[in-house]
């Protein structure tokens, strides 16, 4: 076994070790009441609460609601973002035209547009999804644009020299060349979608992880509060693993994307 492989293995082990050590410490500190267990429930209590909420309560139903909202919003916002980003990356005139608007709209906190969207679309599912869509639009757009722009100009010359049409250049050069950046955008976009979904649910939804967090707060069930936050974190890890899968599937050619 080479030293490099040893390093790889050690790196794989370190995060779980840190996690278990931290949880162990927390368990000890809260069980000994060094930190009040009323406000800081021991990890084992959080785990058993999670189990109870899954089996007796409706945790999975709420989780499904959040994931549906997050994915629907991401698809509705991310795909247009990707398409516009691709056009802006490829064509200077298109970039010149849209760039000022993007620059102006991007920094606006998306959750603050919720009241306006509710005035237009009502307070139902549509409004909640649209806010998520708007939020995931920007990271996808900006990453895709950057991804197209970093493609070495020589590849366009090669394609032209081989007689490629615009559509062929799009399919064989622009799209694959920008894929690593697009997938970075997917990761950012999904995480933003998750945050905004939770925020929307905290504010007004009747179902979702955010709703559960709010309900736990209002009834002061602290251990449920923690359990729902752990659930949200699990969604975050799933996003990471999903993007990892997409990378190995679509970018096997880039040695830099291995983690």
């Amino acid at each position: 076994m080479s030293r490099h492989e040893m390093g790889e293995k050690t790196l794989l082990i370190i995060p779980p070790v840190i996690l278990i050590a931290t949880l162990g410490c927390l368990e000890f500190i809260t069980r000994m009441e060094i930190l009040p267990s009323l406000f800081f429930p021991p990890p084992t209590v959080v785990v058993s609460t999670l189990y109870r909420m899954t089996t007796e309560g409706a945790l999975l139903e709420h989780l499904a609601a959040t994931v549906t909202r997050l994915l629907t919003g991401f698809v509705l916002g991310g795909i247009p973002g990707m398409i516009l980003g691709m056009m802006m990356g490829w064509s200077l005139p298109v970039r010149r035209i849209f760039d000022p608007f993007i620059a102006a709209l991007h920094p606006v906190p998306k959750i603050s547009s919720l009241p306006i969207i509710m005035i237009i679309f009502g307070i139902g599912f549509v409004s909640r999804t649209i806010v998520v869509a708007v939020a995931s639009f920007f990271p996808m757009l900006i990453n895709t644009m950057a991804g197209v722009r970093q493609i070495h100009p020589i590849y366009f010359d090669v394609a032209q020299n081989c007689g490629a049409s615009r559509l062929q250049v799009l399919r064989r050069v622009v799209l694959p060349g920008a894929t690593p950046f697009i997938l970075a955008g997917v990761r950012l976009g999904l995480n933003v979608s998750l945050s905004i979904s939770l925020a929307v649910e905290l504010l007004l939804a009747d179902k979702g992880i955010g709703t559960l967090i709010w309900m736990a707060w209002q009834t002061l069930r602290i251990e449920e509060l923690y359990a729902t936050i752990v659930t949200a974190a699990a969604v975050g890890i799933s996003i990471r693993l999903f993007v990892q899968f997409l990378l190995s599937r679509f970018v096997p050619w880039d040695s830099k994307t291995r983690t």
């Binding site: 590849y155 090669v158 007689g163």
Partner: protein
């Protein structure tokens, strides 16, 4: 098939007016001829290639192609300096790219590509991605792709510029071997005097910027060439002659930039 460059000139617009990159470049390349463009860096050699390839429009002048129809084959194929292979395609896809763009079916284009991949010695690497290959192997992919396209004219832009001296000699020999089997006219850009003499039927020596053709030298060596002959008296004589011209050009361009 032959082609002629007539009074090509390129001027780039800059903030302080125009930058003359090329001026009054005229030459003819006849059937099956291997012509090398040799000159100091920045003299516009690659610019000439891009104009012949149709990737760049000259400010003045024109390229005239005399051909009896190309039967759907491309007029030219270019081997780029570096980065000429797509990192997201494996060797086979890269080599077959031109055929794919022309709408040749998968089976046929793979068959044609196999042949040339074998000829450049990459038979075991068809499924490899460029990042798994050495720089020299990547250039072979570029060369195979150009030959697979089966163009009338092969344009090569310092294809071996980034290789070490030994690999370069081997690659030059391979290129000559493939070229003698698939006769085409070649326009080959380099800044290596010996490389130009060993490969070319003619060497066009260029001046510093703005680039012009200073001398058109016929290389009287028989084909097939043996690159072991590079210490022969006649080659050394030509080398010295070219170096006298180029040294002057390089010196004056150095002085001009001070």
């Amino acid at each position: 098939m032959s082609f002629e460059c007539r009074n090509l000139a390129v001027t780039y617009k800059t903030q302080s007016g125009g930058l003359e990159a090329l001026t009054d470049v005229s030459f003819t390349v006849s059937k099956n001829e291997f012509v090398c463009l040799l000159g100091p860096s920045g003299c516009g050699k690659s610019t000439i290639l891009k104009i012949v390839a149709g990737l760049l429009d000259p400010t003045a002048g024109e390229v005239i192609f005399q051909t009896q129809g190309t039967n759907g084959k491309p007029l030219n194929a270019m081997v780029f300096q570096e980065h000429g292979v797509f990192p997201w395609m494996n060797v086979l896809e890269n080599v077959a790219f031109g055929l794919e763009m022309r709408g040749v079916g998968r089976q046929e284009r793979n068959e044609i590509s196999h042949k040339f991949i074998e000829r450049v010695g990459l038979a075991h690497f068809e499924q490899s991605y460029p990042h798994e290959l050495s720089v020299g192997m990547r250039q072979r992919v570029s060369i195979a792709r150009a030959f697979v396209n089966d163009p009338e004219i092969l344009l090569m832009d310092e294809p071996f510029g980034s290789l070490d001296a030994m690999t370069k000699l081997v690659m030059m020999e391979e290129l000559l071997r493939i070229w003698s089997a698939e006769k085409k006219q070649v326009l080959y850009v380099t800044h290596d005097i010996e490389e130009a003499i060993l490969l070319g039927d003619r060497v066009l020596v260029m001046t510093g910027r703005p680039g012009r053709i200073r001398e058109d030298i016929r290389i009287p060596l028989p084909r097939p060439r043996d690159l072991r002959d590079r210490d022969k008296a006649e080659i050394i004589e030509i080398k010295e002659h070219i170096w006298t011209i180029l040294e002057e050009e390089v010196r004056s361009s150095l002085e001009g930039s001070q």
